[in-house]
């Protein structure tokens, strides 16, 4: 059984311009930020990648989001985080959440942000014709949304059961301006339970939905709830975000989500780390995110560099694991898996590939989560023990070629395994180190590189693999094991192995 470990990526933060003043606007300041890939779609509900969110979070604001330090939901557009109430409405048991949008929250054209905008966003997500597919499953249990008739900034959402992700889903959707995309309030009046009815699929409604679908880079959205707007955009080159005047969020200097210090933010697309570092050295970049920790460590030891730059390693919830196919004829044997576990030097990987910027875990959950179990023991690197386990399981080197073999079903089989990797630097380094360690115990490892999509189709989804290295990114939200979008098939397999052992 393979041990699971977690890596924290090194992220570099340099702030070379002064940003010590909090709560006041700094005139004529400009920051250059590096992103490694163009997200291509920057839209509140349509952008699927977190990189798109990196840019859209300055333009459109959600009702609430997870605070980066406390990992709790923190209100942005609303006053307070609501608490669920069990009620009976029309004879049915429901869970309701009520929240109020801040009184002075307005769009950039001066119109107030109201519950109508919220209803419009949710109805857009739920409508079958919209492209916001990723959000729809989170609203599976949503029954209704009601606006308080006396104050159109107060909203109540009703769920038909208590689902742990329901509050987060209800609050972290970034709002679309309903007075721009649906001025006649057609979508808003569709009842939630009836939205898949084909009568709402005719052209009056679909024109609205298609307009939203096509506004992928916010070209059709002229108002924003956040402080910035995209003033220029060149694909694969840059995004320029310009701050708007008279931003309401400055009334809340303690809220980290509502701040807007620099006047202009240039997001430059630089795919190569080396290029990014040379650009940083000549100061055409102020904020650089790096994904390779050795580059980070190299720069940290550079004294001239250290004078001008600050380094920061935030917690990223990236989780690396090695998956073993239990249905394989050799790997189905528990002893072989145990021996392989004794051959992985997790501490070495963390220390030398990631320069110590990582933490070993005993399960797929982040150590900060309340349900993390510290009592599970970690299996350490122990080559002699691995060798003795294999020997007791019947593996001997009968032909002196350095590889163990055994008779299975009358055929002599060599202990040769194939590991599929995606070819990224970390997976390659781990695979090569693992290959050398297993060689000492008499296990031959072949490494095959494939792109992730092809590997998933050809090997992972039909269990046609022996070993693979993979990573998933979790987030601060509670982990829903039954949700197939947070865990891939192989991980489920691994968890099953955990429970059996």
């Amino acid at each position: 059984m393979k041990n699971i470990f977690l890596y924290l990526f090194g992220i570099l933060l340099f702030v070379s311009c002064n940003s010590d003043n909090k709560g006041t606007l700094i005139q004529e300041s400009e920051i250059n930020i590096r992103i490694s890939k163009d997200p291509y779609v920057v839209h509140p509900i349509l952008s699927p990648t977190s990189r798109g969110r990196l840019i859209s979070q300055y333009i459109f604001k959600p009702l609430a989001d997870y605070h980066p330090v406390t990992m709790e939901l923190h209100p942005i557009l609303i006053e307070n985080i609501p608490v669920g109430k069990n009620e009976i409405v029309n004879g049915e048991k429901v869970v309701s959440y009520t929240f109020t949008i801040k009184k002075d929250a307005i769009w950039s054209d001066g119109k107030p942000i109201t519950g109508l905008d919220y209803m419009h966003t949710i109805k857009t997500v739920l409508h079958p014709q919209s492209n916001a597919i990723a959000w729809r499953p989170y609203f599976e249990f949503l029954k209704d949304i009601k606006i308080d008739p006396s104050n159109n900034k107060t909203i109540t959402v009703y769920y038909d059961r208590s689902y742990m992700l329901s509050l987060e889903a209800a609050l972290t959707a970034e709002l679309l301006p309903s007075h721009i995309s649906d001025p006649e309030q057609l979508l808003i009046n569709i009842p939630v339970s009836d939205i898949t009815n084909p009568i709402y699929g005719d052209s009056t409604y679909t024109t609205i939905i298609n307009n939203i679908n096509n506004s992928k880079n916010l070209k059709l959205n002229v108002v924003q709830s956040g402080p910035y707007e995209i003033s220029h955009y060149e694909p694969d080159l840059y995004y320029v975000l310009q701050r708007k005047e008279n931003y309401w969020g400055l009334n809340y200097p303690d809220n980290p989500f509502l701040q807007a210090y620099p006047e202009k933010m240039n997001f430059k697309v630089v795919p190569d780390d080396m290029t990014a570092v040379t650009m940083a050295k000549e100061e055409s970049l102020d904020f650089v995110e790096l994904s390779e920790s050795n580059v980070f460590m190299d720069l940290k030891e550079d004294s001239t560099f250290n004078e001008k730059w600050r380094f920061h390693v935030p917690q990223t919830m990236l989780f690396y694991y090695m998956a073993i196919n239990n249905k394989h004829e050799i790997l189905g044997d528990k002893n072989v898996r145990k021996a392989l576990a004794h051959l992985t030097d997790v501490e070495d990987y963390i220390q030398n590939i990631n320069y110590g910027l990582g933490v070993r875990t005993t399960g797929p959950f982040h150590p900060v989560k309340k349900y993390y179990n510290n009592n599970l023991s970690e299996i350490k690197l122990d080559i002699p023990k691995a060798k003795s386990i294999l020997k007791n399981a019947g593996w001997f080197d009968t032909n002196n070629d350095g590889i163990l073999d055994k008779e299975i079903d009358g055929n002599k089989k060599d202990l040769t395994l194939t590991m599929h990797i995606t070819g990224s630097t970390i997976s390659k380094s781990i695979a090569i180190l693992f290959q050398e360690t297993t060689k000492q115990a008499g296990v031959k490892l072949n490494i095959v590189t494939k792109s992730y999509k092809v590997m998933k189709k050809e090997n992972l989804s039909n269990f046609n693999f022996d070993l693979t290295l993979s990573a998933i990114s979790t987030d601060t939200a509670p982990d829903d094991i039954a949700d197939k979008e947070t865990l891939s098939v192989t991980l489920t397999l691994l968890l099953m192995a955990l429970l059996i052992l």
């Binding site: 240039n266 050809e458 039909n462 098939v489």
Partner: protein, 438 residues
């Protein structure tokens, strides 16, 4: 001459059509499912069981992109294959049926059985693990050997449809096929939309083209005249120490791999890490001037392009100078040179005015062929120097499997290649009358 011209031009079109057919066939043979890639971009991850939302989304996108049409105008397939397998919208049914039919089972009976079996997924009364095993392996024996009564029944039904031998059949699909749609949209000028952001492909390619073109034009503009100058001087003063050194230097730089030289230069000569005297070249990375047009941006960033231009020019300069000086040397052994000397012309006159023009003739084909080479060979340079040109666009689209952009770039380069070779042939024929009349 005119007949030659017309014949050559007419040959261009079948060539481009063949290339497009080949490219199209390759895109269809690729193991990745286009629709799945698009859905993934929208945030919907595929899973082994298509249920609920994802199935409808898949079918919607599939139909919108017209993937349910047959691939080509006609197909020559065994008789037991279905006429058009793309008609099946559900990807799981399609893939499983495809794999089973390939094992010689009759298609028109297999497909309804598979459709029924697929609807059994999720039904708790059926042995789901056997069902999943069947879908993974596409082997009817799994069903036959299953303990579940219903699955066993289906397995027997499937086995009965096996065929022993087959004849070929030719199916004519007419104009309603994917290739025709794609090709006619190209002729109308639209290459479709890029998968990553939905913007028209032509726009992206145009922007990338401007960068690559400025790089290529500068390289050609510097390399060719310099090569001619150097080659003539090397032959004019064969005993000069200076030119001997230069020709040796070129000989040695000709073999340096460009990517290594570029990496070394970027690492060591763009910053003053290793001492201020090494900070010769401006650093890499493009600066943004968002208020200006793209051309003005390139102009302002021109000092950043110095290093890539130096890298590529050095490489081609070495190659060109050697070829040209060799060519001039060959000319110098021709009889007409002796005649020229015996007429009393100076050495300079003979070489520059007589030998050089004749030596330039094979140079023309090189010059003309250098345009497509410059446009396409810049992939590595652009990746290292972070220039958003055609090569980097092609490389990025291949890794993401964005076929619309890939085809557009490929078609563009193929057309440029063909046209430049055409022009080269004409120039050659025009200059050299012997070829015209052969």
């Amino acid at each position: 001459m005119r007949a030659y011209l017309i014949k050559r031009i007419l040959l261009v079109f079948p060539l481009l059509i063949t290339v497009s057919v080949l490219a199209f066939m390759i895109s269809k043979a690729v193991p990745q499912d286009q629709v799945e890639s698009i859905l993934e971009l929208r945030g919907l991850d595929d899973s082994t069981a298509y249920d609920g939302n994802e199935k409808e989304e898949y079918i919607k996108v599939y139909k919108k992109l017209k993937y349910d049409l047959p691939n080509f105008y006609f197909s020559i397939i065994p008789a037991h294959y279905p006429d058009n397998i793309n008609k099946i919208l559900n990807p799981q049914i399609r893939n499983t049926s495809n794999r089973i039919i390939k094992q010689n089972y009759q298609s028109d009976k297999v497909i309804p059985i598979i459709t029924e079996i697929t609807s059994l997924q999720g039904d708790k009364s059926i042995n789901q693990s056997d069902l999943n095993k069947f879908f993974r392996s596409a082997d009817p024996a799994v069903l036959v050997n299953s303990n579940d009564v219903i699955l066993h029944k289906f397995g027997l039904q499937l086995s009965k449809t096996k065929v022993k031998w087959f004849l070929p059949k030719v199916v004519w699909h007419g104009l309603q096929n994917q290739y025709h749609n794609w090709f006619s949209s190209i002729l109308k000028g639209s290459f479709g939309n890029s998968m990553v952001d939905g913007s028209p492909v032509i726009k992206r390619v145009k922007q990338a083209l401007l960068w690559t073109l400025s790089l290529a034009l500068c390289t050609i503009f510097f390399a060719y005249p310099l090569a001619i100058l150097l080659a003539s001087f090397i032959n004019l003063y064969p005993n000069s120490y200076f030119f001997k050194v230069i020709s040796q230097f070129l000989y040695f730089t000709h073999s340096i791999p460009t990517f290594w030289m570029a990496t070394m230069l970027v690492m060591y000569f763009t910053t003053d890490d290793y001492g201020t005297w090494t900070n010769i070249f401006p650093s890499v990375g493009i600066n943004i001037y968002p208020d200006k047009s793209l051309i003005t941006q390139i102009y302002y960033n021109s000092h950043k392009l110095i290093l890539p231009i130096v890298c590529t020019t050095l490489h081609s300069l070495a190659f060109l100078t050697r070829i040209l000086s060799r060519s001039i040397h060959d000319q110098l052994s021709q009889p007409y040179i002796t005649t020229a000397y015996s007429k009393g012309l100076s050495r300079k006159n003979v070489i520059l005015k007589h030998a050089l023009p004749n030596a330039l003739i094979p140079f023309i084909t090189l010059f003309v062929a250098s345009f497509p080479v410059a446009l396409s060979g810049s992939v590595i340079t652009e990746v290292i120097f972070n220039i958003p040109g055609l090569g980097r666009l092609f490389y990025n689209s291949i890794t993401v499997a964005d076929w619309n952009v890939t085809f557009c770039v490929l078609t563009f380069i193929a057309t440029v290649t063909v046209i430049s070779y055409l022009i080269g042939d004409f120039l050659y024929a025009w200059i050299n009358p012997k070829i015209r009349f052969s």
